[in-house]
């Protein structure tokens, strides 16, 4: 009863990176299409530290409904408009190919099975949806052998999760807000590849998570609707910063990059606080990280590190490879032996550390105390490349789990 073509499974696997914005995305001008009120810019983080691995497959032998499994848990695709929007857009592109070339297998008609796993806990407060939707779009696009560029695909990923569009590329990535109502000019562009400025490092301070107060989509809507300061940020402050930080990246000017990054993080959280009811993502541990960064920079009389905070209390500290001992070394000395995460591919320059980069008496003792108590683990990483196609390394089991080969 089963024809050979009915048993065939088509498959593609990709990894996708996390990105951490330095100019923040906060505010939608269209919630359905995920069109932002302002452009944003991020650093793609290395997949040697953090990545989503996603296999997309399709087969006539699969049950008729598309299936999605995230970290081993089946998801209800039908209730996720965002996932449906991505899959529908990708299927349409496949249909165009199939219509133009009748020799192509009609993959667009087959049920999809998508299995996705992060190598980091969702609870770490990292933007897992960005890597997740980027990987989903990249994997299905590979499965469908779509000719579209990452820039083109970023329009689709954007509809899954705004910041996902920036995870389709490596290095330094801008998301152009665009002006068109259909969102066709709201897409990601590589400002500079990883190779342009490969020395960028990022140290994530994972702050013991209380329950997240306000989901970011809801928070954005509240800010846009209620903050009297928000329009100024979106219309005037951010456009100037976008230009300035792109120049800083082109010139590999870390002090300029760092100051803009810190100011934009502060400005974003300011509009959250100015919302009604107010939204707080930073807590006393976050503020201790702010103080530490300012104290380190003061101690060396130059801007050696920069903090940024997304919609949560975690600090991400950017610095250059050459300042690993100074910056990460100081954090390591503060957090002490009780902290986790001091390992991995970016640990090398810290291995033989004997003393903190900055003497701890030059750092606010309260900040030291608060960080020691409030930071449970770190993630040492750096700028990295975009999604990578993975051949033959992973297979989707019949039941949806990823099998390491």
């Amino acid at each position: 009863m089963t024809a050979p073509s009915d048993t065939k499974v088509f498959r593609a696997t990709t990894t996708a990176p996390v990105n951490i914005a330095v100019i923040k995305y906060w505010g939608k001008r269209d919630a359905t299409l995920n069109l932002p009120t302002n452009s944003s810019l991020s650093v793609t983080l290395s997949q040697r530290s953090l990545r989503t691995l996603t296999t997309a497959s399709c087969s006539a032998k699969y049950p008729t409904a598309d299936e999605l499994t995230l970290n081993g848990k089946p998801q209800d695709i039908q209730s996720s408009k965002r996932t449906l929007a991505c899959l529908s857009a990708l299927r349409s592109l496949r249909q165009e190919l199939e219509a133009a070339d009748s020799s192509l297998p009609k993959l667009s008609a087959l049920p999809l099975r998508i299995v996705s796993e992060n190598n980091f806990p969702t609870a770490a407060g990292l933007a897992s949806s960005a890597a997740g939707f980027a990987a989903l779009v990249r994997a299905v696009a590979d499965l469908y052998q779509l000719p579209q560029s990452p820039r083109d695909l970023s329009r689709i990923a954007r509809q899954g999760s705004g910041s996902a569009c920036r995870s389709l590329m490596g290095g330094y990535v801008a998301w152009r807000a665009g002006t068109l109502a259909d969102g066709s000019d709201s897409l990601a562009e590589e400002v500079a590849p990883e190779s342009h400025w490969p020395e960028m490092r990022a140290l994530v301070l994972v702050v013991s998570a209380e329950k997240k107060d306000v989901p970011s989509t809801e928070g954005m809507q509240t800010t846009v609707a209620t903050s009297g300061l928000f329009a100024t940020r979106a219309e005037s402050v951010v456009p100037e910063r976008m230009t300035a930080i792109e120049t800083a990246i082109q010139n590999r000017d870390f002090p300029a990059f760092a100051e803009i990054t810190m100011r934009d993080s502060n400005g974003f959280h300011a509009t959250c606080l100015d919302s009604w009811p107010p939204i707080f993502y930073m807590n006393d541990v976050s503020r201790a990280a702010v103080r530490l960064v300012h104290d380190i920079n003061r101690a060396v009389s130059r801007t050696a590190c920069a903090y940024t905070f997304d919609a949560g209390p975690n600090a991400v500290i950017y610095y250059l490879e050459k300042d690993s001992e100074l910056v990460a070394g100081t954090v390591k000395a503060i957090l002490g032996a009780g902290s986790e995460g001091w390992d991995g591919p970016f640990y090398e320059p810290l291995k033989n550390l004997t003393a903190p980069g900055v003497a701890l008496d030059k750092v606010d003792p309260r900040a030291v105390e608060v960080l020691k108590e409030g930071v449970s683990r770190v993630i040492l990483t750096g700028v990295g490349e975009g999604p990578v196609s993975v051949k033959d390394h992973h297979l989707v089991s019949e039941t949806g789990g990823i099998l390491s080969s």
Copy 2:
């Protein structure tokens, strides 16, 4: 050698109140004259709870230099441009009187001795300089028998400490920013007297003070110079709020008053966070107070209380007398027996409290925990009158201390 007139001591004593702004003063357009970038509005707090008591005297037998003693400590007047500005302006007004009426004693030529005491610790983080300069100006004006109105004198007090101009009147007081370069139209006006809306209550949660990060004068200058959001607040957001809150006060509309108060506090702290380097006055205890107020309002489905924060972590919670049990009662139940300050003239409605106004299971348990740990004492107070002249009750000793009669 000493003529009779040389031994005479002229004397006047006054009290002056603390005020807590509901539309915040933050930003100077002229630092010398203390001219603000935006108008502000405050509630004058009852002197039955908090007051400065100041005696101004002058005598030919005093040493030739003016003397000022604050809370028992001699101050260096010559190094305080602000005190000098106030005294100089008051002497000029006295000189005008003396020039017009030669029968008046030439008090303007005599050395001044000013002795001032607060009945609350400076460390409580209350705006003691407002009450202090208001009392100084009022006391010297009384000593000099100046005919100027509180409105006129507010121009002088403003030069001592901006917010001091609002402590020269009772009830609900606006400080009009004015537009003139000489500051002559930057003065305080009574929006409504205490008697118009006497039911207003204020509960100060004194938060265990870390060292204050940034003095307010320095902080203001930083915000004006660096925050990209500040101009929008000063030019557009605050003028609208001033109009709206004056209407709310005229109509005794507590929900409107409360929402504007909370939003303005949040907006002020947002511009602090948007400053470079960022300024943080609120901490996790402050944020727990924010949460508590929102939770109480949610539990009763109406706006029964409002928070506001000055340049420090203390919360001031406004509510109406009829909601004393609901609001202050809930705070009392949270803070428990270990907390101080549950006494004084505004304690009556809480005396027979048996249960919290809002069941504690309707309040964020984290906020309860943080408040319990972080709030050492409260001050129960309410709206009150302006400076009061005190006759024969206090005397200045030769050495500068105030003697109770």
